[in-house]
Symmetry: C2
């Protein structure tokens, strides 16, 4: 006969609540008791049937996260701090990658929902909102991360992307740049807002540039470095040559720096470059990179707290939380005199 929780409790003279707490790795159980319970579980080869429990409660305690790229430092950092919050609340994170492919994203969403997740976090690569909601998953609550959709009343945690464009561009203007180009990302809310922040700031400061100084690309996550390289080849043909470039993200900026140096120009003397994301290696690059820090750790933590809130109260009103960005100035845009 299968060993039950209460058999273990009775054997040890503790309550079933205590045994259950040990099982869920709760910290409010003394270490000695924990060890006794674990020892007895092992002796009896107890295997808790969380699958059966999920069937009865309709909840799996699993939360899904779909990101465009597991290798992109941004999503790794968000997943890490998000996972830490969920762990504190006895929930597991199931990760999936869409490889920046809208169709694969739909499949992954469907797979996660079919397997049973109580909530789904999505950094979507869909071009349109309808893409996400195509597959009948309306019953599962969704929290959008990093990217949202225009006019959507959704649960969202991400950056203030308009402000990212604003502070990057303002910094370049303040350090004396006159002709600031932008390598951006089309079809993404992040890309659209960063571009708007950039354009608005140029306009307010009477520093607008012709349209050909703004290059918008698709599918940035995977191919960011290559996209940065290619954009530079186009920008260097313009007259006048831009003296600064605000790049959609750090990978694009890495490619941009490489291509500028290969063309025999200097960074930042000839062309200043600013990225976004302040990724782990920004300061160790050939030219240390000025970047807008998005506080990815805080984005992940906030997303985790929102997950807990939504699971506790699925009927609560949608909430959009924007995390404040900060500029980190390094050599790629500024050299001490």
């Amino acid at each position: 006969m299968a060993v039950r929780l209460k058999d273990i409790a009775r054997d040890l003279g503790v309550s079933t609540v205590t045994v259950s707490k040990v099982l869920r790795n709760r910290k409010d159980v003394g270490e000695k008791t924990r060890q006794r319970v674990l020892k007895r579980m092992e002796e009896l080869q107890y295997k808790p049937n969380l699958i059966a429990r999920a069937l009865i409660s309709g909840r799996t305690a699993n939360v899904g996260l779909v990101v465009p790229d597991l290798l992109h430092p941004y999503f790794g950092e968000v997943a890490k701090s998000l996972g830490a919050v969920l762990r504190e609340h006895d929930r597991a994170l199931i990760l999936a990658s869409s490889e920046d492919d809208p169709e694969l994203e739909q499949r992954e969403i469907r797979t996660l929902i079919n397997r049973g997740v109580d909530l789904l976090l999505i950094s979507s690569c869909q071009r349109r909102l309808e893409g996400i909601f195509k597959v009948g998953e309306k019953q599962t609550p969704i929290l959008l991360v990093d990217r949202t959709f225009p006019l959507l009343d959704a649960n969202f945690v991400g950056s203030d992307d308009f402000k990212i464009g604003e502070i990057a561009t303002l910094h370049l203007l303040e350090t004396g740049r006159k002709c600031i180009a932008h390598i951006g990302a089309s079809h993404l809310s992040t890309g659209h807002e960063r571009m708007r922040g950039y354009s608005e700031t140029l306009r307010r400061n009477n520093a607008t540039v012709p349209q050909e100084y703004v290059l918008m690309h698709e599918r940035f996550e995977e191919t960011g470095i290559e996209a940065g390289r290619k954009a530079i080849q186009k920008l260097l043909k313009l007259n006048p040559r831009p003296d600064a470039i605000f790049c959609y993200n750090d990978l694009t900026a890495v490619g941009a720096i490489e291509a500028v140096l290969e063309a025999g120009l200097r960074v930042p003397e000839d062309i200043a470059i600013v990225g976004c994301g302040n990724f782990r290696y920004a300061q160790y690059l050939r030219v240390p990179l000025t970047s807008v820090d998005q506080s990815t750790e805080q984005i992940g933590r906030t997303a985790g707290e929102e997950v807990i809130r939504l699971l506790d109260d699925p009927e609560s009103a949608s909430r959009s939380t924007l995390i404040e960005p900060h500029l980190r100035v390094r050599e790629s845009s500024w050299k001490p005199a």
Copy 2:
């Protein structure tokens, strides 16, 4: 009443097998049929009860992976290609991070097993083998990835770490270095074998160095850059000063390069540096990094194939698969004349 698979099949005049295939995202169903089935599922708000199915079959189709650090490029790359293979076989990957903490690792293993995984992949940070098997999970098959334990007859996929130490050291000897130091990782099979490959190669070439030229550190993944920096401070005090350093991994090498440059020395002219992992940004660093490429994509793919094999035949004999490393020479160890 709940909608059943066969209701959908009957409505559309197709077999239940076909509907089931669409549900599992199988590719051997025509696109037109797929769309019809999906449309009908949506109309009927069909929600497949994979949880119930798991309860009946005893299998969840979930596979767990515990890594020491989600942010470390090595584990991100392995998870990515592993996930792709599992997806092809209708299996989901549940990721967990131990944050390089043996106790947290045990908790994560227990949580995954309690939630129901058919197999567990572990890149363990335990100091001893017993740590892994403490919590009664003997019934779940385990595949070790990247790190194994001495004398263990386990399923394992990783690098030939002895050879990593060998080719890195041989390269430094061949480029004329006389006094080669090592910054290594203690308590890990990878660190132990890389160090052995290094020492053996020095011995065979009559180039052994005193013991103080070998610095072994714990907990490398998270603090790699800092560990590299600190080790350099010790190594620069030695007489004679080392003219080359083989670093356990790329992050350590990044910290080492920074510290050497800060001390006013040149890389590679004064001190050559070789890392391991050939991470995504190796070529974009201040000094482009020579590194041993572990073919992480192949490690992940092979691990995925091993998972499928073990699930198909749990009684099969243990197998250890070592992936061949390759050296990528860049400026940190060699400058064209």
